[in-house]
């Protein structure tokens, strides 16, 4: 998919520094000049900005009633319109952080804001979510699944159908809008879930390992497809993944979470590759070099050449 794309710039240490500056200047994704009406308006200054300050999360396991310290003192700041991945081992609190941002899990201490407003509960109008499991309702067609957030928001049927068709078209499912989930492949179901996440034209899209259940090839293709869609929008994306390659390929910045119950925010690594990107990027030596740095950052005690030690504690971006 998108294999005709080209134009990656040569990357070295100087480019890394430049990438870091871009990160700080709240610049959105590179425009290819073909933005659709979806999300066409420019974000206001803080719209889509995410800030986690001294965040700690404890929760009670429903099965055993045991208290679990999921994350501790996490500080993360994400500029509007950026694509940021959170990577880390199982149990490091990636999903807990996403649930906090989604307003589905309360904070134990610290603060979480989106667009400068504290997150106190789900904000479906401004935050779209794509879960690891597509969570499609099997009795609804692709169109009706996508339109669900608008239906809950009491948008009239004509408008929500039109909007859902637009987003399905955007994710490449214009022909399958009448299909039920059991008639779609795994990748197509995840596209429907992506369309549902985007249907309210959110400022922030939270994605929790959305392609984890797909085979490697489908996963790479879905990643490229996601970038194609995102490059038309002004949405800030927080993408959770186990795959370092996926994180590097997709993101402007990758945040390594270290430790386990509680997890902590470690290194923030700027990804300097220009956009649009294509899958051949993964074969480049500089891609492998960044992957090596990221891998080292996930090992807390390791010395990381050129990237600093895996930090103990938080480091705001």
């Amino acid at each position: 998919m998108n294999s005709e794309r080209s134009g990656q710039a040569a990357v070295g240490p100087a480019r890394v520094a430049q990438g870091a500056q871009v990160s700080a200047s709240a610049t959105g994704p590179a425009s290819d000049g073909s933005a659709t009406t979806l999300g066409a308006q420019a974000p206001s200054n803080r719209k889509g900005e995410i800030e986690l300050r001294d965040v700690s999360v404890w929760y009670r396991k429903s099965a055993t009633s045991e208290m679990v310290h999921a994350v501790s003192d996490v500080n993360i700041r994400i500029q509007p319109g950026r694509f940021v991945s959170l990577v880390g081992p199982s149990g490091c609190g990636k999903t807990s952080l996403m649930m906090v941002l989604a307003g589905l899990v309360p904070l134990t201490s610290g603060s979480a804001t989106i667009g400068g407003e504290p997150v106190t509960g789900p904000r479906p109008r401004s935050t779209g979510i794509v879960f690891q499991d597509p969570s499609l309702l099997p009795w609804r067609t692709a169109l009706d699944n996508v339109a669900l957030p608008l239906e809950v928001a009491k948008v009239n049927k004509k408008e929500r159908t039109e909007r859902a068709r637009q987003v399905l078209d955007l994710v490449g499912l214009s022909r399958n809008w009448q299909s039920y989930p059991n008639e779609l492949s795994g990748g197509m179901r995840q596209r429907v879930a992506l369309a549902r996440g985007l249907v309210t034209n959110p400022d922030v899209l939270l994605m929790d390992e959305p392609f984890a259940a797909l085979d490697e090839q489908s996963r790479d293709e879905m990643g490229a497809e996601l970038l194609r869609v995102w490059e038309r929008l002004n949405t800030t994306v927080v993408f959770i993944t186990h795959s370092l390659s996926e994180a590097i390929f997709l993101s402007d910045e990758v945040i390594a979470l270290t430790g386990s119950a509680p997890g902590r925010a470690g290194d923030h690594i700027e990804i300097p590759f220009s956009r649009p990107r294509d899958l051949s990027l993964m074969a480049r030596p500089d891609f492998a070099e960044i992957r090596g740095r990221l891998y080292a950052a996930l090992r807390p005690a390791a010395q990381v050449p050129g990237g600093g030690a895996g930090a103990d504690g938080a480091r705001p971006s």
Partner: protein, 269 residues
């Protein structure tokens, strides 16, 4: 009665046209009925058993024609009792299940319901006749009571097995609790609820006919008991065939509704 599959040009989408019954299923039912009929005819013709015990199909047909008006009247009584009892059982059972599952403090009552259900139902019928008489009311209340407990237990199981990721999805899009139940949990539980509807229909029907047979003034059960008391064997067979036809028809109706509501399932009953 056929199922067809269409694959789109990408080869990724297979759409199955659903029908109420697969033709193989219909063939199996019709074939089984024909087999039993032929076997019955051969056994009766060969006089393996006394004609008084096993009359010929022709004698049963004759008995049916002679008492046709009476059969129709009794079927009308049974159907009236059944429909009222089923409506109470289904609606009441679902309401009980929703209340018990959604209120944690009341959930232990599900165990009480299971215990009540384990008691042989028929022992309460004499009390029903004492309280409500020999007429329609005692059959309706007996059938509705037993059916409602079963419907509540089945629906509660379906509700408690609901996919939590779906509930999380509804929360994430800002849906209220009522909307989550109406648009998510109930449709998601429909296969389980329909299993409850189907099985409680059978149990309610058994209770209604049993009630008519034990103590009543009308209904198809009364027709059978009356024929047995007078030793008019062909009429007993007419009654039995009528009872089987009614339950078969009820199941076909439930299947039609189920198939139209669960089109996404793609599974034949």
């Amino acid at each position: 009665m056929t199922a067809t599959v269409a694959v789109d040009s990408e080869g990724l989408v297979a759409r199955r046209k659903k029908t109420v019954y697969d033709w193989k299923f219909v063939l199996l039912v019709v074939g089984s009925a024909a087999f039993v009929g032929v076997l019955w005819y051969i056994l009766a013709a060969a006089r393996v058993l006394d004609r008084l015990i096993l009359p010929t199909p022709a004698a049963v047909w004759q008995a049916g024609r002679e008492t046709w008006d009476n059969v129709l009247t009794q079927v009308g009584t049974t159907l009236l009792e059944l429909v009222v009892a089923l409506l109470i059982a289904w609606v009441g059972g679902l309401a009980i299940a929703l209340t018990l599952v959604s209120t944690k403090a009341l959930r232990p009552l599900l165990g009480t319901l299971r215990s009540i259900y384990a008691v042989p139902h028929v022992i309460i019928y004499p009390l029903m006749t004492l309280w409500f008489g020999f007429g329609t009311e005692s059959k309706v209340i007996f059938g509705a009571f037993v059916g409602m407990i079963f419907m509540a237990l089945m629906s509660a199981s379906a509700l408690m097995a609901v996919d939590q990721s779906m509930v999380r999805l509804f929360r994430s899009v800002g849906a209220s609790r009522t909307l989550t139940i109406r648009k998510g949990i109930l449709p998601g539980c429909l296969p389980g609820i329909f299993a409850g509807i189907r099985l409680s229909a059978s149990i309610t029907y058994i209770c209604v006919v049993l009630g008519e047979m034990l103590a009543s003034t009308g209904g198809i059960g009364y027709y059978i008991t009356n024929a047995a008391a007078l030793f008019i064997t062909p009429q007993i067979y007419v009654g039995v065939i009528t009872v089987l036809t009614l339950i078969g028809g009820l199941h076909v109706l439930i299947t039609i509704v189920e198939r139209s509501l669960l089109r996404h399932n793609g599974v034949n009953p």
